[in-house]
Symmetry: C2
Subunit: 256 residues, 2 copies
DNA sequence: ATATATCAGTTATCATACAACTTATGAAGG
DNA sequence: CCTTCATAAGTTGTATGATAACTGATATAT
């Protein structure tokens, strides 16, 4: 009996193949994982308000029946929803939809996802927003030791000279430092996030566009302008200098 | 051999209780889920570079043995790592560590997480960065229909009068529209994200601080200033107007 | 009335089996 | 020697059943 029930239920289910085929009718993008389907469905229910914050999700057993998948799949889906902070599960009680902003939530930026039309340029633009303002805040909040570190980074940068790798690192470090000067952990971390999103793009662009001679000096000038504005504590000027710097960089990288 | 190993492994396992006790020695925060332990361990290995991008994780079987947990737990852990974009799993092959910026990655902001000292103020500040620049971009890119919509939102806002709920909604809508005018999906979505992070805070603050009379008119004036700058296509002015507006709002909300 | 015990329902974990896929190895044929 | 194809071993994906741990409510005893 064990055997037959397994067999029959097995065949009653949508076979993985058919589901996969269905998905792959549109671009390959989605791996053929059943939990993805469940996630999308549940997300939809929640975002459309059909399940509303605070209310309980159907039990795993119910979900297996309504989706015709195994409990394994349901659990994986719920687990991922939970790690996104959309639900919390309480053992013995159930899974509950969290109210927005309760707990930790995640911001996703898909650079490859064909669903998304977000381009590297978009992200770079967002970076300009954040970083130019960060420079402004830095000008208001910089301490003495902060300035010393920034100055040191500037020197490292100019000392790098022809060494590309070294130059890039010093550059990154300079910007990272400015983010830290804001003393705002949200800004610091988001800056880090954007930078890491862009590393590949930047590296690629940098490799393609031959470095003009004198470029490093030029960049150094821009950096100095930013630095001086921060030293002077002039937020407006710091923002402007940073914006100019990043705009030029954007051009140089061919992101415009 | 199978049999004995089964039995013994069962008893050899850390019982859930003991694990839970261990965790709960520090604040309650962590639910006693084994997959969390696995996730933390793997994250650590990856971030410390012990597993390096591109390389393969140990197979699920190996992991079950080294962690002494069931495959279910391992799979949940991996599934969540995958949904965070830290790894990709290829059926029949293995689970591979993604290189940073490959695929989609997530930015998390924990408002409650005791590990994080991110405050609502930090987030609001980040919002100011993004939104003031968004206003600038909006001024450069607004189309005709865009302006019409924006104007309509303004009218709705002033028409709301005393109705608080209505007023808030119109306000949110106004800002949302401006984000959309940038035509930058990264900015649009990040703005949405920040707004949703702040909803609770804003709602609370609004409830606490009694609304001064004449406040709505005052806010309306600020909105008009932003609107006019966008209409004029003056990016610098739009940025400034938005920044002023949000700074004032921040004060009013007691986030300063 | 208050506490306690019990029970049904739910999530968490374990174990096993099988399906589907990947990769390497090696045999067969050119 | 090289290519091609089959096979086998290893790996992830899914299904299923069983048990542990927890929750909430109901019933019971004091």
């Amino acid at each position: 009996m064990d055997d037959e029930s397994r067999q029959s239920s097995q065949s009653r289910l949508l076979s993985r193949r058919s589901v996969a085929a269905k998905i792959k009718s549109k671009p390959i993008v989605r791996p053929d994982r059943l939990s993805d389907l469940v996630i999308d469905a549940l997300r939809n229910d929640m975002e459309s308000g059909r399940i509303g914050p605070g209310s309980r999700l159907p039990s795993e057993k119910d979900l297996t029946e309504s989706f015709n998948v195994s409990r394994t799949v349901i659990r994986e889906a719920i687990s991922r929803l939970q790690s996104d902070g959309l639900v919390v599960s309480r053992q013995g009680s159930g899974v509950y939809v969290t109210s927005p902003s309760e707990g930790t939530r995640a911001f996703r930026l898909g650079l490859n996802d064909p669903h998304e039309k977000t381009t590297a340029r978009d992200i770079y633009e967002l970076r300009i927003c954040v970083e130019s303002d960060a420079a402004g805040l830095a000008a208001l909040r910089r301490g003495k030791t902060d300035l010393a570190m920034l100055e040191k980074a500037l020197k490292t940068l100019s000392a790098a000279g022809g060494d590309l790798e070294k130059g890039v690192n010093a550059d990154v470090q300079f910007h990272r430092l400015i983010a830290r000067l804001t003393k705002n952990s949200a800004i610091i971390r988001f800056h880090e996030f954007l930078a890491s999103m862009l590393t590949d793009t930047v590296r690629l662009a940098r490799a393609n566009s031959a470095m003009h001679e004198g470029l490093t000096e030029y960049v150094a000038t821009e950096h100095v302008a930013i630095f001086e504005a921060i030293v002077a504590g002039d937020a407006e000027k710091a923002r402007h200098a940073m914006r100019m710097h990043l705009n030029k960089a954007q051009e140089r990288l061919g992101l415009l």
